[in-house]
Symmetry: C2
Subunit: 188 residues, 2 copies
């Protein structure tokens, strides 16, 4: 029988990030992470498929947050209004720990395998967002275009939010990114 | 001494595509491809790093075409006008053989490794386009936003061009994609 391990998942994620930063991602094993967290490798594997997934644990909740917000947007919302509502909905979840996100960004940037995983994550999010728009009745190619444009604004806002010196609200940076995109595309 | 092999590169690409379609990508070896093309594996490796790269042989020329067009756009061009010029510049090269492109798309869609390679290619193109815009003096985050939006329009146009029954000009589909993106983003 498994013992009750208070916030095992959070402790494992924090231990993984500490070790990835100290030793490097490649040099860290699941056994190292479990030991640092004071847990067993078996507990690690109850929470994550492998050491890579400890960095991508939030992806499913992020996708769920985006698609639910699109589904719940008012009937009168245009495709880009629904996308903007989706970005607004996930900003608090994504933007609550900039220091963790910065360290995560540095680990991902340093490892080709993780950069690829991050690209797959973003492509998966764009596909899910497009599907959520089609379920609202948005036709193609508009659904894919709105989803891809939204994810493009998201990615750029995310990188900006991580790199600016002041601690701005992620939601503000996302809305600003969408506004700048609008201004750019209008001047064509 | 190497014999002169007329259009070895083109023959190898065609043989690779035939075999990927007939047998599947995973089941095809470099030796199979060389044999089908009537050439040696050694000749294959003079042209491509591995069997995957036989499907991505045009990436460097595509990137070069995009960035050159951005650099050569008039000084008065807005960022999105420069991006539109880049898409226009590469459309004839990309759009000259829809049947090959369709078969390539089907092979890529069927293999996770190839889908990832395609995502990396698109991310690399977006980064190069952003860099070309910064070299024109476009500031951040506008350069990244315009580049990502341009690649988003490109991807959607590409999928549409491959899937529509009639044989439309790829450049027309790309311009239409940018116009639709503009209309979408304006309604926010």
């Amino acid at each position: 029988m498994a013992r009750w391990e208070p916030d095992a998942r959070g402790r494992l994620r924090a231990a993984a990030m500490d070790l990835y930063t100290e030793r490097g991602y490649e040099q860290t094993t699941v056994a190292d992470i479990a030991e640092r967290a004071g847990l067993t490798a078996r507990t690690f594997f109850r929470h994550f498929a492998d050491k890579r997934e400890a960095l991508f644990a939030g992806s499913a909740a992020l996708q769920e947050g985006l698609t639910t917000a699109v589904a719940e947007a008012p009937d009168s919302a245009t495709p880009m209004q629904a996308v903007a509502a989706a970005l607004d909905a996930v900003s608090p979840m994504l933007g609550h720990d900039r220091e963790y996100s910065r360290r995560r960004g540095a680990v991902i940037a340093s490892t080709a395998e993780l950069r690829e995983r991050e690209l797959i994550k973003m492509a998966t999010l764009a596909a899910a967002l497009g599907e959520a728009l089609r379920e609202r009745g948005v036709a193609e190619p508009e659904a894919s275009l709105a989803a891809e444009a939204g994810i493009a604004a998201f990615r750029v806002a995310w990188e900006q939010w991580l790199s600016i010196p002041e601690d701005r609200d992620l939601g503000d940076v996302m809305r600003d990114s969408l506004s700048r995109l609008e201004a750019l595309v209008a001047k064509r």
